[in-house]
Amino acid sequence: MTFGGWFMLITSVGSVVTLFVWCLYKVITIPEETDHIHGFNETRPDAED
């Protein structure tokens, strides 16, 4: 394993782990825009518009 190999490994894995953790944090902390209580929703497209 060369220095370049370690650099590529740490940079690549570090980047995806950082992105993953950041997304996870955002998903958990930002409240959802729409309340989803039931999987099957009775929708009226005219009302949504």
């Binding site: 394993m1 060369t2 370049g4 190999g5 370690w6 650099f7 590529m8 490994l9 690549s12 894995v13 980047s15 995806v16 782990v17 992105l19 993953f20 950041w22 997304c23 996870l24 955002k26 998903v27 930002i30 959802e32 825009e33 729409t34 989803h36 039931h38 999987g39 099957f40 929703n41 009775e42 929708t43 009226r44 497209p45 005219d46 949504e48 518009d49």
Partner: protein, 603 residues
Amino acid sequence: MTKVKESWNSRIGIILAVAGSAVGLGNFLRFPGQVAEYGGGAFMIAYFISFILIGLPICWAEWTMGRYGGQSGFNSCPGIMGRISGHPAGKWLGIIGVVVPVIIYMYYVLIEAWCLGYAVNFSLGNLNFSTPTDSLAFLKGFTGMSGHGDGIGFGLQQVGIFLLFSIVLNFFLIYRGVSKGIEFFCKYAVPLLMIIAVAIVIRVLTLGAPNPEHPENSIKNGLGFMWNPTKTFLVREIPDEHGEIKIERIREFVGPRAREEAEAAVAERETERAALLGSGITSEQIEATTPPLLIEHVSLWHQLLNARLWLAAAGQIFFSLSVGFGVIINYSSYLKKDDDVVLSGLAATSTNEFAEVAIGGIMSIPAAYAFLGMAGLAGMTSTFALGFIALPNVFSVMPGGQIFGALFFFLLFLAAVTSSLSMLQPGIAFLEEAIQLSRKQSVALLGGITCFGTAYVTFFSMDTIALDTMDFWVGTVLIYVLATVQIILFSWFFGIENGWREAHQGAAIKIPGIFKWIMKFISPVLLLIIFTVFILQSFFGLLGGEVSDKVLLLIGTEDASPNKVAWGALAIIIAFTLFCTILVALSKRIGTSTQIKNGKILS
């Protein structure tokens, strides 16, 4: 009149479902094989650039178009693309978004069954291989690669019972619907497979050098083989028929011990050549019989100039993120108008990248390298060879291998189920939308169609010709086509300004402004270039490529006539495409700019 519409239960639910769709065998087997084959760390540079310029833009475009189509009452790709384009061509091109996932499901569920079979057999202690030849023999017996029909059987060491279980599980979950079936399963399966994967990674990273007689076969050198951006080969110089000197690579080597061995081989060859020259043999004879050995260093820049590396990296991004599959556009159509698509798309993508780079990148190849060495890994970097020949052999000799082998293949099985579920839902949505079938009817009809295709692939199992043919024409060619069509549709027909506004409706985060430019110009141009180069290489053997063996199977060669099994697989693809085309033609709902209001067609 009100209309009952399916939807996701929660944001985390759809994120895990899309991530589950993307996380599959490609993350743990195909990706590491591609990295090792195409330049290690150099591949990663092309991979991340492709991710930003192709993968992420198409992903956001698909999420946005899907949600927009869903608001107009469409869940199938022909319906959504017809609505988005406002042109009859849209619905016809959208048929690809049904053909791709359904055809891929036909052979993917078989590979899913292989994974389950290996998991069960490892857990029962039935798999103890001492050499890769043993594991190859088991694979051939289990899958029927040796002869047509050999894979049919319901013993524990044949694929039949596992295939039956996989099909029933898939259709049971699909029958339960988007929320109660797919979302429910993915909410448990995706976190579980991540936990299993992390446990296996920890085991692999603590292996060290398992064979004291070969300390060079270590996890550290395995990681070097995967990640070093420069490569070093032992090569020989041989004259061709015109007398010109050509470099022929003998083997790649990693680590100081392997370097010492290579340098010793070079010195020994020089001594041998000097002795031969002194014995009166002509220099021409020596060059022909005992060519000099050299050590070749391939730099990062030299590797990045290789067009095949960029094609491979872009292709891996496609397969990995499930873009161009017709899956994301279908899944996101079940979102509501103000549901976020930007953060959800990025979160699902990042989950897939975590599984691929942070887990797949440090698990499979280093483990295989530590036990089999560089020589043992030669020719073993393809998905099947790495997953079903090299790694079973590794788990057989690894301490605790029975447990870790079972866990690894169960992990692959879970990843495969979450992916295969996503391949069925676009077909179900299409049947329900095009010809107004009930859930029971659509599940029964799609079940019949896919079982026929799977039976064909399972029976004509010799050398996996049927499977490879479907994978090439649908899993490669049509995916390129659909991804290209989708990004052009989004940026140019729907309009980048409309698309941008639509994407940010209810968005939890903003897409950086530069992506507007990337989505409009860079992504379509890059995709067109990649697809053109792929066609010229694979179909015509131009630009340094070779005509694909999948093409040769159909047209035949001087030594072999056209392969009937390959033609049969192509016939299934064509027949299903025609079936979908007829349904679209007959459908009253799927139209160019049809809008559904209160369950009624307005225009």
